[in-house]
């Protein structure tokens, strides 16, 4: 998530609120955090104030309101964004951007698997998490186009997830909600039914499948029986008429089998509404295991191409995420999608000259190994 920093005053708590740029008091003010250049007068009612100028200590004592001053780049904050302030360190974490299509809620920091290419740092869940997340959702704009529910593994929350989804239904009835989950806990049909009963209009379960056989898939998830459990979960979703998207992260262990994975999906999971092939995000465990996982995009692009065409020929909705256009055969460019959040993506020096830069999603982070050497402007 986007992060800003400043100097905190007047509080040591954690504060969550919606950004407002309007200093006048309104009904909303008590939930809002004012973002402004400088503080001129007393500001009543706001949860906290952020400003870009420095403030003398003496002045703040009069202001009696949590303040973070000397914030660089405060223009990056938009009206309606939601931020989480750490008043001990002065960190401003933007947990929701009103103008973005890539918003997500980190529902759980823990997981029931230890996938060898997981980019997420894991930690035990705190009780505060759920409470905070529900509060954040409550402040989101009703017209938010899409919201991801991510982790870790969101389903670990059990009933907590149901509470979270209820809040989504209330606050964001038209938003497309995407739950990123390994689906293992969905093998309990009762749990699936309890989610289905909520009748969210636009709920999609995004579930990874890394191989066409249980041996490989279980190894990548580092959990025996994962394949079996995930398939049961997928079938439970289908029986309960839930929308399913299948995601395949491409790595050395599965790159040659991509066409066969596509075949498996078409024949066994024909109810999936979308299939996405994804480039690996080299963070966390992925970075740690990179030697075992790395395969160059140039090397796997023929397999990716075959897999994508296999599904397209059969009229399955298929996309490619997190891949750079210069490494893909031109005839599959149509399937790519700028999937990396705008604040997150980077481009290399070579990219500046590239004619397709506006169309290309760029990178998560500096490319590994020979990946960089293969990048070239088009």
């Amino acid at each position: 998530m986007r992060q800003l920093k400043g100097i905190p005053l007047n509080s040591r708590a954690r504060i969550i609120g919606k950004i407002s740029k309007n200093p006048a008091k309104t009904r909303e003010t008590k939930n809002c955090i004012l973002a402004t250049v400088s503080i001129e007068k007393r500001l009543r009612g706001f949860k906290a104030v952020l400003c870009s100028t420095a403030i003398e200590e003496a002045k703040t004592i009069r202001l009696k309101i949590p303040i973070i001053h000397s914030v660089e780049n405060i223009e990056a904050l938009s009206e309606g964004d939601i931020v989480s302030l750490d008043m001990m360190t002065g960190d401003i974490i933007v947990v929701y951007e009103r103008n973005s299509i890539h918003n997500s809620v980190l529902a759980s920091t823990d997981c029931n698997c230890r996938c060898i290419m997981c980019p997420q740092a894991l930690a035990a869940n705190s009780k505060e998490n759920l409470k905070n997340n529900i509060e954040i959702i409550r402040m989101m704009d009703k017209r938010t186009p899409a919201l991801g529910i991510t982790g870790g593994e969101p389903l670990i929350l059990g009933d907590g997830l149901i509470k979270l989804l209820k809040q989504c239904k209330k606050q964001l009835p038209e938003t497309q909600i995407q739950i990123l989950t390994n689906g293992i806990l969905l093998k309990e049909n009762d749990y699936v039914r309890s989610i289905a009963r909520l009748r969210l209009r636009n709920l999609v379960f995004c579930i990874p499948l890394y191989a066409d056989t249980d041996t490989e898939h279980d190894f990548i998830m580092q959990r025996k029986g994962a394949f079996e459990d995930t398939i049961q979960g997928l079938y439970n979703l289908a029986t309960n008429r839930q929308l399913v998207e299948i995601r395949i992260v491409v790595m050395s262990l599965n790159s040659k089998r991509l066409p066969k994975i596509a075949e498996f999906i078409y024949h066994n999971l024909p109810f999936a509404i979308h299939v996405a092939f994804m480039g690996m995000e080299v963070e966390g465990m992925a970075r740690k295991n990179i030697e075992k996982l790395w395969v160059s995009p140039k090397a796997y692009s023929p397999y990716l191409r075959d897999a994508v065409f296999y599904l397209f020929q059969r009229n399955v909705n298929v996309s490619i995420y997190n891949e750079q256009l210069c490494l893909l055969p031109k005839d599959i460019w149509n399937f790519t999608y700028k999937s990396i959040s705008e604040w997150k993506n980077i481009y290399l020096e070579d990219c500046l000259e590239c004619s397709e830069k506006s169309r290309c999603g760029g990178f998560f982070a500096a490319p590994y190994g020979d990946h960089k050497a293969q990048i070239h402007p088009l």
């Binding site: 093998k187 049909n189 079996e228 049961q232």
Partner: protein, 107 residues
Amino acid sequence: MIEGNKIVIKIDLAIYARIAALKTCYVFQDKCHTSLEPESESIFKVTLTPKKGSLSLPEIEKEFMDELIDQQIRVENDKLFSNIRKMIVEQAFKPISFAELKTKIRK
């Protein structure tokens, strides 16, 4: 073995199942008139008289032997597969949960 306008084949029932021999004869009923008789306890004698417009006698003999081998494979497969087939069809129309299915298969 070709005898005039007929083909005579002796099927050793130590190698081929009776049902494989019968099925093979059935397959050839559009091309030939077939007759079957036991020559001994373990030998079936099959006589094929090709109907007009068929292939040549040596070709029919060769095809019959090929088909016999395939039918024998199918007979052996049947023994191997019949339980699983029943289980698949039963699960298809009277589904039980995955966990219950696993227990059932173990038995």
